[in-house]
């Protein structure tokens, strides 16, 4: 079973053309889906590759959280491949081969993160992910791309070296293992301050989770072509960050462990910081005129929901965090697809240029609206469900600050998304644009974004699968 995935991991490297990309994407999805019943039945297939250092192995294990993440990433990769073929052709980008190869490698690294059986393996794939996405971010090769890439690598590589490596070694030193074990491996070896410090090293070391103040790489990465922003910076890379945070909290620290040891307070500062990130990033998004930049800051804010809920340590909010990874993924990829479609069809990048665009690109903008509704957390989109769990968790834990933050940020979300929808559908197009007629983007792109938009709705109606996986991981 796992072999099928690994073969596809290795086999995807020499991809040259879109066909192969699509085929491997489908194959990967198939492999992941085939694994699904096994996981739901409670089995945990694992595979130890080889020993890196005495007692430290590179090993994979499929467990529910990783399964959830892998499912999201692999299914969205299929859609994204369809989309990027349309995008790359329509915009006549250069170096397409390099683009697809790096893309496949990035997905391989993401799968590695999803299925890693210990923190060391996770770390290795985490770094690989940074390095293979660097060529994608700097795809255009311009000065702006170079500067963006510099920030990207500087922050991601820098934080993981400075914070994560020592944290990893410390965990190994203290616990004697880095394996992911349900219930955690730290049983009070470190005191209150030690735990808080270690958590800080981890959270800032995993800068892909884009917690302020290590969030700056994400807006910088927006110089990349839109499919990259869509999949990597809405799904693979940032989700790798929050997924890792979640995995560390659940399997290394162990939420129950922390609570029992009376150390739950060790994570309090993180709740506050994440809450601050949510609000601050939303405010920045409110004033950003560039559409991709607004989406990027929205991502930062949404990711901090996950971090914050993970830091509350209550089971319900952990489930909410896991669900939110899925919910945000489908919704945000829709939004980015829409932004890319707008750029391809109309060459517009600023929010203020979007007056009346909904009449010319109805499919795109309807999909955009669905994504926006999910972001705000309204039914009938999946964002509502994850927000529901996170709120219940916060209330159960009597974290009133969190409740207030979620409420406030919901308002802010509405504040920066609804005007776009309003402009697109209710304002008349600007007069000077009358002589630049354009319709929808290429058909492949529209199909892709409709797919993800409908997924956003479908997951609201049928949230059983991700919910079951999240439950399995958190409540054993």
């Amino acid at each position: 079973m796992l072999g099928s995935i690994l073969i596809s991991l290795a086999g995807r490297r020499p991809n040259l053309r879109e066909g192969i990309t699509l085929a491997t994407a489908l194959l990967l999805l198939l492999g992941t889906i085939l694994l699904l019943p096994t996981i739901l039945a409670g089995a945990r297939p694992s595979l130890a590759l080889w020993s890196l250092m005495p007692g430290l192995e590179i090993a994979f294990q499929v467990e529910p959280l990783g399964m959830l993440f892998a499912l999201i990433a692999s299914s969205l990769w299929v859609v994204n491949s369809i989309y990027s073929i349309g995008y790359m052709r329509a915009n006549r980008e250069e170096n397409q081969t390099q683009f697809y190869v790096c893309f496949a490698l990035a997905l391989a690294a993401t799968m590695g993160i999803a299925f890693s059986a210990n923190l060391l393996t996770l770390f290795i794939f985490y770094e690989i992910l940074t390095l293979v996405t660097y060529p994608l971010v700097t795809h255009h090769g311009t000065q702006a791309a170079r500067d963006g890439g510099r920030t990207y690598v500087g922050i991601l590589l820098g934080t993981s070296i400075v914070f994560f490596t020592p944290a990893l070694i410390l965990i190994w030193l203290v616990a004697g293992t880095t394996d992911f074990v349900p219930g955690g491996i730290l049983h009070g070896q470190l005191g209150h301050a030690g735990m808080a410090g270690l958590l800080a090293l981890i959270v800032f070391g995993l800068a892909k989770a884009a917690l302020m103040p290590v969030h700056r790489w994400l807006p910088a990465a927006m110089v990349a072509p839109t499919p990259v922003s869509a999949l990597l910076h809405a799904v693979a890379v940032v989700k790798a960050g929050v997924f890792s945070v979640l995995k560390v909290v659940v399997y290394i620290f162990g939420a129950n462990n922390l609570a029992e040891a009376g150390l739950a307070g060790a994570a309090d500062w993180l709740v506050v910081l994440a809450g601050f990130s949510i609000v601050a990033a939303s405010v920045v998004a409110l004033f950003a005129d560039n559409l991709k930049r607004r989406l990027a800051y929205s991502t930062i804010s949404q990711l901090s929901y996950v971090t914050m809920s993970a830091a509350i340590l209550a089971p319900l909010s952990l489930i909410g965090a896991a669900l939110h990874i899925a919910a945000h993924a489908v919704a945000k990829i829709t939004l980015f697809f829409a932004a890319g479609a707008i750029y391809t069809a109309a060459h517009k990048t600023e929010v203020s240029q979007l007056d009346g665009i909904g009449r010319r690109m109805p499919w795109t903008m309807v999909a955009f609206s669905i994504g926006a509704i999910s972001m705000i957390g309204l039914p009938p989109a999946v964002g509502f469900i994850s927000k529901w769990y996170m709120l219940s968790g916060a209330m159960a834990a009597e974290h009133w600050l969190v409740v207030a933050v979620i409420a406030l940020s919901t308002l802010l979300n509405a504040g920066y998304f609804l005007p776009i929808v309003y402009r697109a559908f209710f304002l008349p197009p600007r007069a000077e644009e009358a002589d630049h007629p354009h319709g929808e983007a290429p058909v492949l792109m529209v199909v892709a974004l409709c797919l993800t938009a409908s997924a956003t709705l479908l997951l609201f109606l049928f949230p059983d699968l991700p919910l079951a996986l999240a439950r399995q991981a958190i409540i054993f």
């Binding site: 690598v153 820098g158 410390l170």
Partner: protein, 527 residues
């Protein structure tokens, strides 16, 4: 006696004989073939020695059957075997590379001279490593140094001569200091055998001549291993020597000097109280740290790749010495592992830089514009090695850094952890300078279209790049050897007088061998 019993002698004697032969048979391809044979045989012998030591423990070989400590002893323990493999392995890779490389860099009539000097240098380095006799160390050190001066001077740049001269002066001072140190020790102990010297030194420790010997040896060897601030000869030597020489030197010469330092510190002075009474650890720590930061910072501002990576070498030597200064078995393991890993990585880098020179006519940053487009694989190789210098997981450098950080955490040096990771960031900066120039600039217009590079140069370089990744993924050879070597050195030290020496803060007996496989145990003390 079977041949295998004489392997320690053959290890040195074979290349030693090959050297004059290359002068006698100077015509055509003969010197090359001879040198190649000698280096490959040396590699085979050292691998065989490694296996023998791994199975049977330390080998002692009496030259001319004069029993030590009267006769000259060749002594192969785990550390020796490990370093021998590194040195002969690098030579075995550098020689095939050299044929095509020197064809472009050295006048034809001097080719035989290159091979002679190269083989002599190899002899010297192997000799230093294998001998168990202190004066012999000096003799072989001179053999390797003198041949190195010639090798550097063979560079086609006019500044090669100056670089060689600079190294000659500083190297001679270093060698003189070393021989003075050895002389003082001989004076006080009446023996030249290293093991014997260690035993006898306990009686006369603390006397002024012994302290002076320690000082002379430390400074002399530090000059040889280019410990900051005694590194001034190194950047010029690496930058202006022929490419293959730079690669060989970067990978082996400084590493062998580190080996000599370990030998003297642990096998000779290890049995004394000197390290507890003198602030040696603090001094080493300070020098290592300043080397890591200052040299990395200088590397950032270099405009030539060879000089950039030469300064990076000085910084990396800082890491090697840093491991030493922790005063723990894990720190020692980090030193030995990094000695090997950095040798492989830097060897790969300088071999690749030789290819770069061939491809674009120089290694200044302005020349390598657009290398990523011109020769993608070459550029990728350099990036991979650069990542190893940074210490990204999956490369050899990560393993070294892991052990360094582990040692720092075990001994409770929190601030050192911070400093080590900060200095890695400097490495990110200088490596990324290359990345950006290589991938974001257009190739120079005045260059001819890329012609295929000679396979003789490509294959050894590629092998070393692969090794850089391989030793980052499979560490059974490197970590296994280094751990055992470190334990052996450490135990030799602990068994004598100083059961609580080196670091009074650490229960030395408990630290040997236990925490390396059971981190949980020493964690109690740590927490």
């Amino acid at each position: 006696m079977s041949l295998s019993a004489h392997l320690p002698a053959l290890q040195v004697v074979l290349p030693l004989i090959a050297a004059p032969l290359t002068v006698l048979l100077r015509r055509g391809q003969l010197p090359y073939l001879l040198a190649l044979t000698a280096s490959w045989l040396a590699l085979a012998i050292s691998l065989q020695l490694w296996v023998q030591v791994d199975q049977g423990g330390t080998i002692s070989y009496a030259i001319g059957k004069w029993p030590p400590p009267w006769g000259i002893e060749y002594r192969v323990d785990r550390l020796t075997a490990f370093v021998l493999v590194l040195v002969s392995g690098m030579a075995a890779l550098a020689l095939p590379y050299s044929r095509d490389s020197i064809a472009h860099e050295i006048p034809h009539e001097q080719h035989y001279l290159f091979y002679t000097m190269f083989v002599l240098c190899l002899t010297g380095l192997l000799g230093i490593t294998i001998t168990g006799d202190a004066f012999n160390v000096f003799v072989f050190l001179e053999i390797s140094s003198l041949s190195t001066y010639v090798l550097i001077a063979l560079g086609k740049h006019r500044r090669s001569l100056l670089a060689a001269y600079q190294y000659l002066i500083l190297g001679t001072i270093g060698a003189t200091f070393i021989v003075i140190g050895i002389g003082l020790l001989y004076l006080m102990t009446g023996t030249l055998n290293i093991a014997d010297m260690g035993r006898r030194l306990a009686d006369v420790q603390g006397t002024r001549p012994v302290l002076a010997a320690l000082a002379f040896l430390t400074v002399g060897i530090s000059l040889k291993l280019a410990l900051f601030p005694l590194h001034h000869w190194l950047p010029n030597a690496y930058a202006y020597a022929p490419s293959v020489v730079a690669a060989f030197l970067a990978a082996t010469a400084t590493k062998v000097a580190v080996y000599v330092l370990l030998r003297f510190y642990f096998s000779v002075f290890g049995a004394t109280q000197i390290f507890t009474e003198l602030p040696m650890q603090e001094m080493m720590l300070l020098l290592a740290l300043s080397g890591m930061f200052v040299a990395s910072a200088i590397a950032i501002f270099q405009s030539d790749l060879k000089r950039l990576f030469a300064y990076s070498s000085v910084a990396q030597i800082g890491y090697i010495i840093l491991g030493l200064s922790f005063g723990s078995a894990t720190g020692l393991t980090a030193t030995i592992v990094h000695l090997f890993n950095h040798g492989v990585t830097k060897g790969a880098i300088f071999l690749l830089l030789g290819l770069v020179t061939l491809s674009v006519g120089g290694t200044s940053l302005a020349r390598v514009h657009g290398l990523g487009k011109r020769s993608p694989l070459l550029s990728l190789g350099l990036v991979i090695c650069g990542l190893s210098l940074i210490g990204v997981p999956g490369t050899a450098g990560f393993i070294s850094k892991w052990y360094l950080l582990l040692a720092a955490l075990q001994t409770g040096h929190w601030w050192l952890v911070a400093l080590i990771v900060m200095s890695s960031l400097l490495a990110v900066v200088y490596v990324w300078r290359f990345v950006e120039v290589s991938y974001f600039r257009e190739p120079r217009k005045d260059l001819a279209d890329p012609s295929p590079l000679p396979l003789g140069m490509v294959i050894p370089s590629a092998l070393l790049v692969i090794a850089t990744v391989y030793f980052g993924l499979d560490t059974s050879f490197t970590i296994g050897s280094a751990q055992q070597a470190a334990e052996l050195l450490w135990r030799a030290c602990v068994e004598f007088v100083c059961s609580h020496a080196i670091d009074p803060g650490l229960p030395a007996g408990a630290s040997v061998g236990q925490h390396t496989d059971q981190p949980g145990r020493s964690a109690a003390q740590f927490a």
